[in-house]
């Protein structure tokens, strides 16, 4: 005989404002098998949990239904409370009265009725729950960090410094990411390279870090603590062991007119190249798309000049297979290019540039060696316009969110321009100035008050070229939307920060969720900002949403702390909600007939064959068997099974049918 306890939570007023909690508890108390029911203001609080624990001990409850928030929120809390009171944690279920009822319906009888129904179906389910024991699995104490920008670098260093092995992969020839492209950083105006490059070197020299640049993730299989990663190391066409990074090849390469990715197309590079002077590793790669040898079949000059004979034209991509226990995703973001904006000339005016291109112009190691010169004719612009929210916060462009970093870097750009071009005039067109952060607002005030940057609150409607000038049409909304026209020499668009191309495919490879803008989704917006919905995979930096350097670094350290926590144990406990094939006494052994349809359904290759032999060793029956280490508990096999021999613990046939029956049969 079941003794079920029902615990209805008010969640302050979140539930009780629309649901009559006392009535729910009272009605539930009358159901068969329910021996205790109560409502309380905060079930998740300490006294709330004590009510549950005491009831389990005093009333000898065999099952618990907590009717409160989403089980995605507090299921672990209540299962733990049950376990502490001596009840098997899997004998506890939650009815979702908050997210699925009180928050989405008006206050009326129908809402309370729905709450009662939700409780009833879980009472019926929990009657059929079975005590389960958590599964223990070993942990591989190596982390895979994907992306070598500042977030990936920070995460790798933090994990490595906590004593664990790290494999860091970066798709470009060097680590450093967008931060290495920046000239100065707000709000301190310290040079980006100066603070970043020592960290890059530290990564390369750290005994716990294996660095694969020019490498991408091919596939990831497995589960928390036990992933199997395949990494494609793209061919660099050089023997890295022999290469000394002398730079002879890059100086002699005749193919010198390739737009440099690092300089955002404002400078050029050779076909065999090191992306920038401080690159880590400081060894070149051959870009096979542009190299004359690969396109036309001859040249091989680099091979001739290389003093250590390190060039390998026939080198092939290498697949590295490795086992890792956790993954940190730090793949960063990208910015919209100027051709995304028809109103600003579709990118056909070379003097309209992106913020990231301006960084390269302002950088001492950039194509103009730090002088602000316009790309078209190299003249120093006397009037410059900065356009905030180019694409961001623009529903019509499909980017309704704020890109977060632009307000700050525009103030920095305008400030750098004023410092570098004395007497120059700069204008910033903005919607709002969002300068939330330590010393951020002060920084913007400095740009306006000390450096004399003209801030105009309004939008730009159009930019076109006339007599070598860029005519910027806008409005000043603080002066009654008075039209403003500026004849500028150069325009910088703070283009929206967006997810990387291919972010969606990567997310699908890793089975992590992503939002409608293809940024990776965190497990909980407030309380699990660095976790994903897939256990063992964590997020760091701007791949989750646009963010600045301090936030990316903080997030990376957060993710690293999670990984270190995971690696602090030798064994992991996993939810036992997995599939099992029934077993019966000989000579039946199981109702499974051995059709193995389940094998074709299982995405994890978790179903094996088990043979039963008679005394003479003859195989008399072959049936399916689930490997509990591999099974993830999706239950696809359950729906496939024609003899209903396979069932999934926690979602058994009996439980699901009784839920449906309890839902619609009025008691």
């Amino acid at each position: 005989m079941s003794k079920i306890g029902v615990f209805v939570c008010h969640c302050g007023e979140n539930i009780s404002a629309t649901v009559d909690c006392a009535k729910v508890a009272e009605t539930a108390g009358k159901y068969d098998g329910v021996t205790f029911s109560i409502d309380y203001k905060y079930m998740c609080s300490d006294p709330g949990q004590s009510i549950i624990k005491n009831a389990i001990k005093e009333k000898g409850l065999t099952g618990v239904v907590v009717a409160s928030c989403s089980p995605r929120m507090h299921e672990p809390t209540f299962r733990k409370a049950c376990a502490e009171a001596g009840l098997n944690p899997y004998m506890c279920e939650m009815a979702n009265l908050r997210e699925h009822c009180s928050w989405v319906h008006e206050k009326d009888d129908a809402t309370t009725e729905k709450a009662i129904d939700l409780v009833r179906i879980l009472v019926e389910k929990v009657k059929r729950n079975q005590s389960l024991d958590a599964i223990k699995v070993p942990v591989t104490k190596t982390a895979l960090v994907i992306g070598g920008g500042i977030a990936g670098i920070q995460a790798s260093l933090d994990i490595a410094n906590s004593g664990h092995k790290v494999i860091l992969i970066e798709k470009d020839p060097s680590i450093g990411g967008h931060m290495s492209q920046l000239s100065e950083t707000f709000p301190t105006l310290d040079c980006s390279q100066c603070i970043l490059t020592p960290r890059m070197v530290e990564v390369a020299q750290h005994p716990n870090i294996t660095l694969y640049t020019y490498a991408e993730l091919e596939s990831l299989e497995g589960f928390i603590g036990n992933f199997k990663a395949k990494i494609r190391r793209k061919s660099k066409s050089i023997d890295e062991k022999l290469c000394t990074g002398c730079g002879m090849c890059t100086t002699k390469c005749p193919n010198k007119k390739i737009p440099s990715e690092f300089n955002e197309g404002l400078g050029t590079r050779t076909a065999i190249y090191v992306p920038f002077p401080q690159a880590v590793p400081n060894k070149p790669v051959i870009d096979r798309i542009h190299c004359t040898y690969y396109t036309k079949g001859k040249c091989r000059i680099c091979e001739k000049v290389c003093p250590t004979q390190a060039i390998r034209f026939d080198q092939e991509d290498q697949i590295v297979e490795t086992e890792v226990g956790a993954v940190v995703l730090a793949t960063g973001f990208t910015v919209k290019q100027t051709d995304f904006f028809p109103e600003y000339g579709y990118g056909k005016y070379s003097d309209i540039i992106t913020g990231l291109q301006f960084e390269r112009l302002a950088s001492a190691s950039g194509p103009t060696l730090g002088e602000i010169r316009r790309p078209s004719d190299g003249k120093i612009p006397e009037k410059i316009v900065f356009v905030a929210c180019a694409g961001s916060r623009d529903q019509a462009k499909g980017i309704p969110y704020c890109s977060k970093i632009c307000c700050m870097y525009i103030a920095k750009h305008a400030m750098l321009y004023q410092h570098k071009v004395p007497g120059g005039k700069s204008y910033v067109f903005y919607m709002d100035i969002r300068a939330g952060g330590k010393m951020y607002e002060e920084f913007v005030r400095r740009a306006i008050e000390d450096d004399g940057v003209n801030y105009v609150r309004g939008r730009i409607s159009r930019i076109y070229e006339k007599n070598g000038k860029l005519i910027v049409n806008g409005a000043d909304t603080l002066l009654n939307a008075m039209p403003v026209e500026i004849e500028a020499d150069m325009v910088v668009l703070a283009t929206a920060g967006v997810a990387n191309e291919g972010a969606e495919e990567l997310a699908q490879k890793l089975h992590v969720s992503y939002d409608s803008y293809h940024f990776f989704a965190e497990a909980h917006p407030k309380l699990k900002p660095v976790e994903t919905n897939t256990a063992g995979i964590f997020l760091a930096g701007a791949c989750q949403s646009p963010r600045d350097i301090p936030e990316s670094v903080a997030m990376a350290s957060g993710a690293a702390a999670k990984v270190a926590g995971l690696f602090s144990q030798d064994e992991l406990t996993r939810e036992p909600l997995i599939a099992v094939v029934n077993r019966q006494a000989a000579p039946v052994y199981s109702s499974c007939v051995g059709c193995f349809l389940c094998v074709s359904a299982c995405p994890y290759q978790a179903i094996e064959k088990e043979e039963f032999k008679n005394r003479t060793g003859e195989v008399i029956k072959t049936v399916a068997k689930v490997n509990p280490g591999l099974c993830q508990g999706c239950g696809t096999c359950v729906a496939f099974c024609r003899t209903k021999s396979i069932d999934i613990q926690g979602y058994t046939h009996e439980q699901m049918y009784s839920e449906v029956m309890a839902l619609l049969n009025e008691y």
Binding site: E99, S513, P603, G635, V638, L664
Partner: protein, 149 residues
């Protein structure tokens, strides 16, 4: 059908639609209270006999919803569910089960508003179709089970 309140059962996966419906709540988007959600680990787990069971027990409409194609937490469960749904739908048509009463959809964990829309749409359309008396007529009501509780 002025006073008719349809009973809608929703079979949803834990990772996308259940989370999406949670987001509807977190976003305080209101929708019709006729729906009762049953949580599954994955749409791939949903045995379509459960849909018939729900009709037999008195449901007027059913929603089956999981992750968008390619977004399945378990790689491919939603594809299996979709393929099975196509088969099941023809079977229903053959048997004379009103497939207008079953809504198969994808709602991701980020689509709180879409979930509310789907529920409201199906409630409105079932309200128009009326109670599913036809099915109830052919199904013998089982003798009320004595709870084994």
């Amino acid at each position: 059908m002025v006073d008719f309140e349809p009973k809608i059962v929703a079979f949803v996966c834990n990772w996308c639609t259940y989370a999406g419906a949670d987001l509807t709540g977190t976003s305080r988007i209101k929708y019709a209270s006729n729906v009762r959600i049953v949580r599954f680990p994955c749409t791939g787990r949903i045995d379509y006999m459960l849909l018939l069971k729900a009709f037999a027990e008195g449901a007027d409409g059913i929603i089956v919803s999981g992750c968008h194609p390619n977004d399945c937490h378990y790689t491919s469960g939603n594809f299996h569910a979709r393929r099975r749904w196509i088969m099941f739908r023809s079977l229903c048509d053959f048997m004379g089960i009103d497939t207008r009463r079953i809504k198969f959809s994808w709602v991701s964990a980020a689509e709180g508003a879409k979930w509310a829309d789907i529920v409201n749409t199906i409630v409105a359309s079932i309200r128009e179709l009326g109670p599913y008396e036809d099915y109830k007529k052919v199904v013998k009501k089982p003798v009320k089970e004595v709870s084994n509780g």
